[in-house]
Amino acid sequence: MFHYEDIRIAIGKGRILEQLVPRWLEAKFPWPLEPKSRQLWFAGSHQGPGAMIVRGPDVATLVARGAADIGIVGTDLVVERGAQDILQVGDLDLARCRVVLAGMSEKRPDGPFLVASKYQRITRDFLQRHHLQADIVPLSGSLELAPLIGLAPYIVDIVETGETLRQHHLIEIETIMLAHACLIANPAHWRAKPEVVAIRDRLVQHLA
């Protein structure tokens, strides 16, 4: 019998959170927050772990620092941050999307170019793999604007259906990586708290 009072799960806001809640309830863990609640956390109980709702890029940091035992976050953000101080312990069938190179035309860039992205590491690795030369313009959001306002003719961004790109007259040129939600764990908590492994097993069983 496990007690979950001191177990905390950090959950990325947005797509992941929206898709997670019904499945969380299917796993028979309590979710005491009202729909559309602005509360960002709830404590664990003997029935289930507590949760913290945070920005996606912060999930892995909270887990690595031990402030959260487990994190639920997109694989794109794990790859972008680097995973040397966390464990990736499960893949979830949630928030499936793609990181793509997009631009005003379907042609792959020829010669040096500018690309706007919030994914500097993923973009750099992609450029290196394909022997492309580009300067990365770091942006944290609204990337679709970059080609329209002349900031950079290309972007590397995450898309689910591609509708937002189409609305901004942008075309997907290449898929760089497929992404989905995954479970990450703090290595010390994973090994010192048996509840963490038990929660992971239950979440994977219901969400994979």
């Binding site: 001191d6 995973a83 995954c182 994973w190 090994r191 708290k193």
Partner: protein, 272 residues
């Protein structure tokens, strides 16, 4: 400011007390530079060996018991640590010394009575490789599991093992020694079980004052030089290991260097 300075003074005093214990146990300070050739120190072991290589082999008296203090650069930040190493000429001399020291340090800091929050976890690279080899896994397949472990991709480790030897999966998550021994009895035919089983049986006694001793073959250490037993001491609720270490082998400047050692993460150690 006063409380910050008091805390710093307290940490300094505790570090001094820890160093005094190492001196009492026959360990000698061995100074390494925090930066060298425009590289920052990420690990004391490598830094110690680089410095040791300045001496000719006959000038070093083995087993050599040394420690090095100071920060290491880890995961984008500096962390205060104290590193202890026993370097040996022949395989096997250093484990005993290191486990005696570990027992002493843990007893001084935490017991008796034993701190119920402590968990000692051990892994073993030779055992990991032996178990896969005994099942005719190719060298590449074994390396791919080790690589996935090194990159923290436990989900991939699980997938790879599930597809080929699912019976080994329980060994790749924290389990009590009895579980591991139960598996070894059935799994290690053809592997050097006779070498590993006594170690499994004795480890809980080796680390006195730690109520929970677990085995987990997905613990392989953060550095490529780990070559056999690796271990970590955790305190429930703390997000970093208090101690990380293991048996190492590395080749530097055409010489082989081997032994056993561990690093104490000082802030974690004092916080526990």
């Amino acid at each position: 400011m006063r409380s910050w300075m008091d805390q710093a003074a307290d940490q300094f005093r505790q570090t001094s007390a820890l160093i005094a214990q190492l001196d009492d146990q026959g360990f000698t300070p061995f100074f390494t530079a925090p930066t060298h050739d425009a590289e920052v120190r990420r690990d004391h072991t490598q830094a110690i060996i680089e410095r040791l290589a300045a001496w000719s082999p006959h000038a070093i008296e083995f087993p050599l018991r040394v420690y090095s203090t100071g920060p290491v650069f880890e995961h984008g930040t500096w962390a205060e640590s104290l590193d202890v190493e026993v370097l040996e000429e022949r395989s096997g001399d250093s484990d005993r010394i290191i486990f005696d020291l570990l027992t002493h340090l843990i007893a001084e800091r935490f017991g008796p009575p034993a701190n119920q929050n402590l968990v000692f976890v051990a892994g073993h690279l030779g055992l990991l490789r032996g178990l896969f080899s005994a099942r005719q896994w190719s060298k590449e397949a074994i390396e791919s599991v080790e690589r996935a472990i090194g990159q923290g991709q436990y989900n991939q480790v699980e997938e790879k093992i599930k597809s080929k030897s699912p019976e080994l999966l329980p060994l790749f998550r924290p389990s009590p020694p009895e579980t591991m021994i139960g598996h070894l009895n059935t799994l290690t035919r053809g592997v050097s079980a006779s070498e590993v089983t006594p170690m499994l049986l004795s480890l809980p006694r080796e680390v006195d004052h730690v109520p929970a001793v677990l085995w987990d073959l997905s613990l392989t250490g953060s550095f490529a030089y780990y070559s056999g037993l690796v271990f970590a001491l955790y305190a429930r609720g703390q997000g970093e290991a208090l101690i990380k270490g293991g048996r190492f082998f590395l080749r530097y400047q055409d010489r082989n260097w081997q032994g056993t050692g561990f690093t104490i993460a000082l802030p974690e150690w004092f916080r526990s």
